[in-house]
Symmetry: C2
Subunit: 190 residues, 2 copies
Amino acid sequence: MKELENRILTDGKVLPGGILKVDGFLNHRIDPQLSYRMAQELRRLYAEEQVNKILTIEASGIALACMAGFVFDCPLVFAKKSKTKNISDNVWSAEVESFTHGNTNTVVVSKEYLGPGDRVLIVDDFLATGAALVGLKSLVEQAGGTVIGAGIAIEKAFQGGGDALRREGMRVESLAKIAAMTDDSITFAE
Amino acid sequence: MKELENRILTDGKVLPGGILKVDGFLNHRIDPQLSYRMAQELRRLYAEEQVNKILTIEASGIALACMAGFVFDCPLVFAKKSKTKNISDNVWSAEVESFTHGNTNTVVVSKEYLGPGDRVLIVDDFLATGAALVGLKSLVEQAGGTVIGAGIAIEKAFQGGGDALRREGMRVESLAKIAAMTDDSITFAE
């Protein structure tokens, strides 16, 4: 999506350690009009599918997921990072390693809100190692639902997570796909 | 807002300890069309004001705040719960006590994204003791910005936080205002 690529080039910053800082429009301060247009683009990409639920993970995926729910006209559910290790029987749970924070979170979704019959589009702001997607996919599968695919704002393709999931047969659509990144340049795939 | 009150009566559950469970449409599974209409109602209430920023707190305020940003046509910023006690010089920070979780969080906003010139509408899903609002208001004041008011989905008026802020002169608009709550009844104010 050209608009998103341009925005990354204008407002993004590459920080040491392979961090792409886009918190001016994507995950701290958020441009909701851009989020809306990204959601519309996801709708276009998945137009043939009968998506009936959006799934994301707190916190920074929620804004795009909310717009996606609005545009797809279906509810969204966000997986919560669990504060305790004692997971109740009422939730689906999965472990998700965080590349940015260097820790592991248990994420949970109430069994009430994810079940068979759900045709789920997983939405997130970033895809790097794919750990969040793997965890969210596992929640849907535990619930007996169907993962239609993923809709990602920015994929750091050089970290390989997206392609690993594609090789397993999952549909992963990223609105901006970064092939390479140095301190002073960002190269998009294709 | 009648639609929200009806939804609370239909889908809400009162749990022991004065907890109102509305995670079927507001803060776990989210109905984005309802969020959009709530944002429109906030826009109507604050139509005379020149709001140019929406501020909320992660995670469950983000969906409504994103819709508010969309409808007000301005950016939103969400305050992050800080993982460390070492707060950097680059952020505004405040302490927020959580009624639901029984703990205190330090919340931060990057100084880049909140400053003088900002006319801020604070948006959140719940208002009970008012601790989150007080913290968010403090962030805006530290930044030299102007708090236009608050836009809340559900106010538990019997906990007094909203009226305490109103007495201090802050404008607080709640789309559903609960005057009293028992295990099997919910009474709205007015």
